[in-house]
């Protein structure tokens, strides 16, 4: 598994500059646009804090989600079908669990990197007053796993990249809009609130907000953690099974 992770790290080391640049610039622009721009129209803040303070923990979780998705969709299909990294690895002593695991660990390292960059920008904007914000990192990792693992299973199973676009359009966009990133889910009709409860993102958003704002969560912390862990474990199981089936090993 570590050997497979090494591959991804070396591969990344050959073209990391764009990615690292992006992980600072994107949060910077988002915070400027939404936090400062939109925040100017939100009179009196949200839930008793400024809009920026409300927004930043949500954006952090959604950034972790985007990175996890980015690494578990097209790259997985490319490694299976186009570059054929996985088939090359399958011809060696590596097992499906090593192949999935190596790539998944790499995805999580990227989540940590992107989330850290986000935290740095958040601190510069004065949107993260408490050192507890650091606790967002493990939350981001758990969310990353809860998202990347099942999406690995999906991407290895679907026949064409059309399905990846479908996933983005019909699962990810609604999840991002209705998971309390930009506004509290209590303002939504019950039906939409269920989108938040069922999908992973909102659980991480609520956890991140709990630690950055130092306030009580909507759900018990343990409930959030267990629910995300459930996604992660189910996802890993399905992904390993899917790799086993596709690679014939």
């Amino acid at each position: 598994m570590i050997a497979a992770l090494e591959f991804h790290l070396i591969d990344f080391s050959r073209n990391w500059r764009g990615t690292v640049f992006g992980s600072f610039v994107v949060p910077l622009l988002t915070m400027l646009g939404f936090g400062v721009g939109v925040g100017g129209y939100v009179q009196g803040g949200v839930d008793g804090v400024s809009y920026l303070e409300f927004l930043v923990p949500g954006l952090l979780a959604s950034t972790a989600l985007q990175i996890a998705l980015g690494e578990s969709t097209w790259p997985v299909m490319a490694n299976m079908e186009w570059i054929k990294l996985y088939p090359a690895q399958a011809a060696t002593p590596l097992r499906p669990v090593d192949i999935v695991g190596g790539h998944l660990l790499f995805a999580l390292l990227r989540v940590i990197g992107g989330s850290s960059a986000f935290l740095v920008v958040g601190v510069l904007f004065g949107a993260l007053p408490s050192a507890w914000a650091l606790a967002c990192l493990p939350i981001a990792v758990l969310l990353g796993l809860a998202v990347a693992a099942p999406v690995f299973a999906y991407s290895i199973a679907v026949p064409t990249e059309v399905y990846l676009s479908l996933l983005m359009r019909f699962a990810v966009i609604p999840m991002t809009l209705f998971s309390g990133v930009f506004f509290p889910i209590e303002t939504m009709p019950v039906v939409l609130r269920w989108v938040a409860y069922v999908t992973p993102l909102w659980h991480a958003v609520d956890l991140c907000r709990t630690v950055t704002l130092g306030r009580a969560p909507d759900w018990a912390v343990a409930g959030h953690l267990l629910y995300l862990a459930l996604w992660a474990v189910a996802g890993i199981t399905l992904a390993v099974r899917g790799f086993h089936r596709r690679l014939g090993v």
Binding site: I83, K84, A88, A90, A91, T92, R95, G248, V249
Partner: protein, 307 residues
């Protein structure tokens, strides 16, 4: 001694389609063994089962005395695989392609570097060590894939069409390197649809067609058994060819009629050609050559190897 490969009644089906239809193969240590057959014969499907990346549908398969389904990782640790299509890492350098792959076998970094450097020397890619893979020529990529297959000092090397798609010069370079491996006593198993490749590299081979083995032996033995020593290739003006085959009756041992020529099989080509002329036939072209595995395949299946 335990055979390197032992297959009995080996079958691979994809849905209703049978790609490998009950083949029996044994390969001994130190042998250089080939699967010769046209596209679609089932060569790659067989190689993938041997490489433990495709479970057999039916039959018995033992690689290095082990069961490929239950002991896949242990077997693959001792194999070197060069797949039909290169699957190198395009963004990594030539050297990194070898060192990262070495790590999959648990080879320590320092040792991986040493072996990689040595292998690049062997496949004559040392000057490209730091270059990216993507812009390399087909022949260079192939040699790199072969080097990668050798990184774990394998007991058994599997090469699926090692020179398909390469220009003649690049092919000869690959052959020369593979011949050296063979001389070192490495067990080689390769597939090809080039009869000259099979003749050059294989001690023993099986001829495959439509998932079945239709003949087995050394290249020389196969030619002796299924063909004559020489072949006369006769070309006629296109429209008139059909009538000529009948008029050749009795010359040589037999004839094969292809769309553009008639092959006349005889132990003595000169004598046969003299006889053709004596019958008053005047082909527009005539060529005498030695029999090859191509003729063996044609005789066994009625088709040519490369279309």
């Amino acid at each position: 001694m335990t055979p390197m490969i032992e297959a009995a009644g080996l079958v691979k089906r994809f849905g209703d389609f049978t790609a490998v239809d009950g083949i029996d193969v044994t390969v001994q240590p130190g042998e250089s063994f080939g699967f010769l057959g046209p596209n679609g014969a089932g060569k790659s499907s067989t190689m993938r089962m041997i490489g433990c990346v495709s479970p057999p549908t039916d039959g018995l398969l033992r690689i290095l005395g082990m069961d490929p389904v239950r002991q896949g990782p242990a077997i693959r640790a001792r194999l070197g695989v060069c797949p039909q299509l290169d699957n190198l890492a395009p963004d990594l350098t030539v050297l990194q392609n070898l060192t990262t792959y070495a790590r999959y076998f648990g080879i320590p970094r320092r040792e991986a570097r040493r072996r990689a450097t040595e292998l690049l020397e062997f496949v004559q890619l040392s000057e490209r060590s730091g270059a990216e893979v993507e812009p390399l020529s087909g022949g260079m990529k192939r040699r790199l894939t072969i080097a990668r297959a050798l990184i774990n000092e394998p007991d058994l090397v599997l090469l699926d069409e090692p020179t398909t798609g390469l220009d003649p010069q690049a092919r000869h370079l690959v052959w020369e390197r593979l011949f050296r491996l063979k001389q070192r006593g490495v067990t080689l198993v390769l597939t090809t649809h080039y009869m000259d490749e099979a003749e050059q590299l294989c001690d023993r081979l099986v001829v495959m067609d439509a998932g079945k083995i239709v003949a087995e032996g050394s290249p020389r033995a196969l030619i002796e058994r299924y063909s004559t020593r020489e072949v006369v290739e006769l070309r006629f003006q296109a429209e008139s060819q059909s009538g000529f085959a009948a008029k050749l009756e009795g010359i040589g041992e037999r004839t094969e009629e292809l769309p553009d020529r008639i092959l006349l099989y005889a132990s003595d080509g000169d004598a046969a050609l003299t006889e053709v002329h004596a019958r008053g036939l005047s082909p527009s072209g005539a060529l005498i050559r030695r029999s090859s595995l191509e003729d063996v395949f044609l005789h066994l299946t009625g088709r040519t190897l490369v279309d």
